[in-house]
Each structure stands twice: as structure tokens, then as C-alpha cells.
């Protein structure tokens, strides 16, 4: 029997149909938890995206007459030590979370991780070894420590770079918008985030590599690129979707941790890390615990929802179930 282009295409189409579309949505709808999780994420993300229009106050506007106020019509979440509205601060912090997590995903997890994973798993041999060893090296370093050091070393350079960009393009306010911090944070997250995704994709590719339809495609003369992106990628897309969901949550958490350490988002820009940092400290906890509880609750809800969604997606997308 001769292998022609047609059967491999057909095989591919069959596989592609297995990739969720209608069925996914129907299954998801059956999981009420998933709906709630999605709703929570949507609300928080929307609040973040629409913050410039929806937030009643700015992140920094003080009101010295009204510090440490309890919940009221004007301030549904109360105010903090400088009289700043907690609800607005939460919304602006959500905006930061949206930007950072999305950007980190796009750069590190997605682009870098998937590509390297595909490459590594498919090519095998020395390239695979090299990529995996480099990944090992990244993993071996105590991440947080290196991030702190990197931040101390590179922050100035990144800022200067952006100042130059401002000069070349004539666009103002890039530096003061906090862009250098964002870049540093999601750059850092990407630097260490690609390894996990790459390993995941690679293991999946290893499993798929020797399957019939891939062999068929190769025999039919399909290029490596085509095999990688048209044949293998759709089949690892299940895993990727789940990994993305979980990583978005992880990126949000990581940003909080980095900011808390002082190497993430810099003041006066908003972030849950800033709010939680402000609210911690034993003396604060004793007298004004809501400064901690409000941002913690929102952040916890967000991360819980991401993980819940990830769980449900795993169940749904896993081919062995049902």
C-alpha cells in the first residue's frame, strides 16, 4: 500500500476533531464548579481591565480625614491608613495581575516553553539533551535568590532602556507607568517558567513520536516544521490548555511574592503584593486585620478559581475519562 498525502491528512483531521470545541463547552457547563470558577475569574479580570473607568478612586488618592474607615456606601471595603479606598485599590491591583500574568504566559510559558518542548521532544539526541540540561541549570538555581539579585542588577538598565525608547518614539510616560517593573517581573517569571511547560510538552511529544500517524506523515515527506505544528501541536494542546490555566494562577501568585520581596512592582504602582505587604505585620493584624483580609480574600478566590478550572479541564480533556 502506498502512503500518500491524503490518508495522513485524513488522520490529522480525525485527531483534530478530538480537540475540544462544542463538546468541551457542553461538558464544562455540566460542572457547576467550573462555571463559578470562570465567573470569579471573569469578574476579577474584568474589574482589572476596566479599572481605569470603573474604579471610583485612584490607587493613591489619600483622604486624611477618613483613615481606617469601615465599610460604607462611599467605601464598600473601607479605607486604609492614608484614607485610600480599598475597593479601588483592589481593582487597580487586579489590573496589574491581569497584565503581568497574561504577559508572563504569552512570553515564557507559551511561546518559549511550548516551542522548546516540541523541539526537544521531537528532535531528541543532542539537541534534546542540551535543552534539558539548560533547563536543569535554570531549575537548579534557587530561583528567588537569583531573581532578587537580577532585579538589583538589571533594574536600572531596564529603566534606562525604556527612557531611551521614550526618547526615540516620543511616547511619554512609559517609565512612570511602571512598564520597567512589569517587564522585569514577567521577564523574570518567563525566564524560570518555561522549563515546566517545556518538560510537559516534551514528555507528551515523546509519547506521540512513535505513533503511526506521525510515522505516516514523515514517510509522506512532511517537513519537520509541519509535523511539529500541524500534527503534534494540536495533540498536546490539551495539556497546554490546562497548563496555561494553572500557570496564570501561578503567575499571579508569583507576582505577589516578588512584589512582596520588593523586586516586583514598584511603588506607587498597585498590586496585591503591595496591599498584602501593607496589611501584614503583627501590630497591623491586631488593630486593622481587614487591610490584610480584603486583598487576601480576592487573591485567594482568583487563584482557587484558576486551579479549579484547571482541574475540571484536566478531567474533561483527558481522553480516558468516560
Amino acid at each position: 500500500m502506498q502512503y500518500t498525502e491524503a490518508p495522513s491528512e485524513a488522520v490529522y483531521e480525525a485527531q483534530a476533531r478530538a480537540v475540544p470545541s462544542f463538546r468541551l463547552l457542553r461538558r464544562l457547563a455540566r460542572r457547576r464548579l467550573a462555571i463559578i470558577a470562570l465567573a470569579v475569574i471573569a469578574v476579577i479580570y474584568l474589574a482589572g481591565i476596566l479599572a481605569p473607568w470603573l474604579a471610583p478612586y485612584s490607587f493613591t488618592k489619600p483622604d486624611f480625614e477618613n483613615t481606617f474607615a469601615g465599610p460604607s456606601l462611599d467605601h464598600p471595603f473601607g479605607t486604609d491608613r492614608l484614607g485610600r479606598d480599598m475597593l479601588s485599590r483592589v481593582m487597580w491591583s487586579a489590573q496589574t495581575t491581569v497584565i503581568v500574568s497574561a504577559a508572563a504566559m504569552l512570553t515564557g510559558g507559551l511561546a518559549l516553553g511550548v516551542t522548546l518542548g516540541l523541539l526537544s521532544g521531537y528532535a531528541g539526541g543532542r539537541l534534546d539533551n542540551l535543552i534539558m540540561r539548560i533547563g536543569d541549570a535554570f531549575y537548579a538555581v534557587p530561583t528567588i535568590l537569583l531573581l532578587i539579585i537580577i532585579s538589583a542588577t538589571l533594574r536600572k538598565s531596564v529603566e534606562n532602556f525604556f527612557r531611551d525608547v521614550e526618547d526615540w518614539t516620543g511616547i511619554d510616560g512609559i517609565v512612570s507607568s511602571g512598564a520597567p517593573s512589569y517587564v522585569l517581573v514577567f521577564g523574570a517569571l518567563s525566564l524560570f517558567g518555561w522549563v515546566g511547560m517545556a518538560r510537559l510538552v516534551r514528555s507528551q511529544v515523546l509519547a506521540l513520536r512513535e505513533t503511526d500517524y506521525v510515522l505516516a506523515a514523515r514517510a509522506a515527506g512532511a517537513s519537520t516544521f509541519r509535523i511539529l505544528f500541524r500534527h503534534l501541536l494540536p495533540n498536546v494542546s490539551n495539556i497546554i490548555v490546562v497548563a496555561i490555566t494553572l500557570s496564570l494562577g501561578a503567575a499571579a501568585g508569583a507576582e505577589v511574592a516578588l512584589t512582596w520581596l520588593g523586586i516586583g512592582i514598584q511603588p506607587p504602582h498597585p498590586s496585591f503584593g503591595v496591599m498584602i505587604f501593607d496589611g501584614s505585620g503583627l501590630t497591623n493584624l491586631r488593630t486593622h486585620p481587614n487591610l490584610l483580609l480584603v486583598p487576601s480574600a480576592v487573591l485567594a478566590a482568583l487563584m482557587l478559581s484558576f486551579n479549579l478550572l484547571g482541574d475540571v479541564l484536566t478531567d474533561v480533556l483527558s481522553p480516558r475519562r468516560r
Binding site: L145, I148, I149, I276, S296, A300
Partner: protein, 325 residues
């Protein structure tokens, strides 16, 4: 076993290369960071010219690669330098006692993780279909999701401030047959709780998923039909198949002590390696930073190696596949 030995050897040969790379990058980054410990310690009162002269005497203004070679030479001959935060004290005299502290409470966390995680996960799976299952998932997820930075102050507030059940931090040491142990006091409860909750939750989730898979298998139904207790069947399968990820988990836990411990120890006032690492960076205590990073990286590589060996031992297929690659 020739295949396994060769596999291990190959991995071992990479280790020094990786360590060297890590040391170079860390050293370069550390030195390139603006400011040095002299700036910190001289303070705002010192004459900048004097500070410059002293900087020169200490060799801090030599080119980075010169300083690196000097550090490499010293370290390989056993001299890890002196701490700057604790003037006059050798780095190893500060780091090892602190490492011991961190290892202690992390060990407890590991113990708890497996001791509680596996049974609880199994139990949750067996309760599928009842109300308890989604409740269990939810709880697991909650604890596993929230970052350490958040759980610490919350638990502090709940347990130490609001209900006054535990001390709010600190670390007590008692002597036990010549070894100093900090885990014999109630102060260890808060840090262990903070780290164990997400850890147990994570493992329990995984175990539950594994068990659920098992329960649908043919051979289980067969065994059940034969009359074997469900629990026996399930647990033997679980243990066998959960072993691989458990080993992976163990490896990463052992090696990843440093990360979470920074927040934990800083917030709770525990004299461990994490807190010291953070201080060292802020004070530009170069010798300490390098020592800590190298210890961390070595531990990680060792742990990874052990994990890989165990994998290869348990599942010959993996070993063969790796060899083929």
C-alpha cells in the same frame, strides 16, 4: 545494571558543569549589582575617598573575572570566606547551623505530607459521589492555591493574634542527646502548618486522581469480584503507581527548601537559611550569597540525581528510553 550505571555516570558528569555555570552567573550578577557591602557598612558618615581606598585594599574594585577566579580558588581549597553581616565569623559557621534549622521544619513538613496526604487522598477518592468529595477537592485546592506570602499573616492572625493559641513566631532550641533540635517546641507548629497545608493538599489531590483511575480498571473489578477488600486493592495500586510522582515530589521538596523559606523565616523570625539569604543579598554579603547558592544548587542536583536513579530502578522502560534518546 550496566545501563543504569552508565546513565547515572552520564548525569553525574554534567553536575560539575552545571554547578560551574551557576556559580559564574550568580557571581557575575552579584558583583554587577550596584553598591557593595562597603557602601552599606560605611554608612552616610564616611568620607567617600576613604571608602574608595578601602574598597581598593579589599580588592572589590578588581575586574569581575579576577574576583571570580579568586573566589573559585579559595572555595575549592575550602575557604568559603567570611560573613559581612556577622563580622569576623566564617561563612560556614553561619550557614550550616541555619541550614539545619531550615532542614528541621521542612523535614517535618515532608513527613506530614506523606503521612497525611496519601491516606486523605485515598479516602477522598473512596468517598466519590458523596458530598464530601467536592468539599475535599475544594479544601485541597484552597490550601494549595494561596501563596505562602498570604497564608503566613493569615495564620498568624488567626492562631496567634485572634485566638492566642500559638506564639507568633520565633524559634526555640533544646538539646537532645547532643544535637540541638528546634522542633521540640510549640514554635515549630506555625511554620510547619503554613508549609504543610499546601503540600498535603497537593499530594492528596494527586493521590485522589490516581485512585479514581484505578477504581475503574478491569482488574480491580475482578479483584473485587473475587472478594478482596477494596481498600487493599486500591492502596497497593496507589502505592505502586504514586511512587514515581512521590519520588519526584520528594526530590523537588528537598531541593526547593530555600524559596518558600525566605518569606516564612523573615515573617516569623526563624533563624534559618532563607532569612539569612535575604539579608545577605541586601547587605551584599558576597561570600555568603555564593555559598548559599552553591549549597542550594548542589542539593538540587543531588536530589534530582537520586530521583532519576530511583526512576530508572523502578521502571526499566524509562531507563531504556532515556538511553535511546
Amino acid at each position: 545494571m550496566q545501563g543504569l550505571a552508565g546513565y547515572v555516570l552520564r548525569r553525574l558528569l554534567w553536575a560539575p558543569v552545571i554547578l560551574l555555570a551557576v556559580s559564574m552567573v550568580t557571581f557575575a550578577l552579584g558583583r554587577l549589582a550596584p553598591g557593595d557591602y562597603l557602601d552599606v557598612q560605611a554608612g552616610p558618615r564616611a568620607n567617600p575617598e576613604t571608602v574608595e581606598r578601602i574598597r581598593h585594599e579589599l580588592g572589590l574594585d578588581d575586574p569581575v573575572y579576577v574576583q571570580y577566579v579568586r573566589w573559585l580558588g579559595d572555595s575549592l581549597s575550602g575557604d568559603l570566606g567570611q560573613s559581612v553581616i556577622y563580622r569576623g565569623v566564617d561563612v560556614e559557621d553561619v550557614i550550616f547551623p541555619r541550614l539545619w534549622v531550615t532542614v528541621q521544619y521542612n523535614f517535618l513538613v515532608l513527613l506530614l505530607t506523606f503521612a497525611i496526604g496519601i491516606p486523605v487522598g485515598t479516602w477522598a477518592a473512596l468517598k466519590r459521589g458523596t458530598l464530601l468529595d467536592p468539599l475535599a477537592i475544594g479544601t485541597f485546592l484552597l490550601f494549595a492555591s494561596v501563596p505562602v506570602v498570604v497564608t503566613i499573616p493569615i495564620l498568624q492572625w488567626l492562631l496567634a493574634v485572634k485566638f492566642d493559641l500559638l506564639p507568633s513566631g520565633g524559634w526555640d532550641v533544646r538539646e537532645f542527646y547532643g544535637i540541638e533540635l528546634g522542633i521540640l517546641s510549640e514554635r515549630v507548629i506555625l511554620p510547619v502548618l503554613v508549609l504543610a497545608l499546601p503540600s498535603v493538599a497537593g499530594l492528596a489531590r494527586y493521590v485522589r486522581a490516581q485512585v479514581l483511575e484505578v477504581m475503574d480498571q478491569d482488574y480491580v473489578r475482578t479483584a473485587r469480584a473475587k472478594g478482596l477488600a477494596e481498600f487493599t486493592v486500591v492502596s497497593s495500586y496507589v502505592v505502586r503507581n504514586a511512587l514515581l510522582p512521590i519520588i519526584t515530589l520528594l526530590g523537588f521538596e528537598l531541593a526547593g527548601l530555600l524559596g518558600g523559606s525566605i518569606f516564612l523565616e523573615t515573617l516569623l523570625g526563624i533563624p534559618g537559611i532563607g532569612a539569612y539569604a535575604f539579608e545577605s543579598i541586601g547587605s551584599r554579603d558576597y561570600d555568603s550569597i555564593m555559598a548559599i547558592v552553591m549549597v542550594g544548587a548542589s542539593a538540587f542536583i543531588l536530589a534530582n540525581l537520586l530521583v532519576d536513579i530511583a526512576y530508572g530502578f523502578i521502571d526499566p522502560r524509562i531507563r531504556l528510553r532515556a538511553q535511546a534518546a
